[in-house]
Symmetry: C2
Subunit: 87 residues, 2 copies
């Protein structure tokens, strides 16, 4: 999971999905290019999503020829639990 967070493009994908859930791959690509100023290709984004999915941060479901993506931020709790940010 930590390696999944290490790439800025993947963090932007998380940002996008937190703001707007259940996007298709094409939606993600266009919105990432428009709003986040990314230049990544569709394949690059797809591979990033594979990493995020392997990390448990994104879940996918297939409907027809579309693939929808959803965030799951729960794995991130492990960070706060491992290194408490004593306030």
């Amino acid at each position: 999971m930590f390696k999944a967070l290490a790439d800025p493009t993947r963090r932007a994908i998380l940002d996008e999905l937190v703001e707007r859930d259940s996007q298709t791959l094409f939606e993600l690509c266009t919105r990432l290019t428009m709003k986040h100023g990314l230049t990544s290709s569709r394949q690059a984004i797809s591979q990033h999503i594979d990493v995020l999915e392997a990390a448990g941060l994104v879940t996918t479901r297939r409907e027809g020829r579309f693939k929808f993506h959803d965030v799951d931020t729960r794995p991130l709790r492990a960070i706060a639990e491992r290194w408490p940010t004593d306030e």
Copy 2:
């Protein structure tokens, strides 16, 4: 900061420093080898600490020929704020 967390050795260093603050480089090396089963050399650990320091997760202070290391987990709060783990 995210790249700093991407390496398991660096995460082990944070674990060590959370458990026991203000260690010298040699202390860290020996304790990491003993308790965490790491095999990294002193130079490797030193370079990891440079990364952690650049990420603001570790602060160092020099006293004589010793260099002490302290954790600062506050940068980690940005993670929870960026992607809220809605409970």
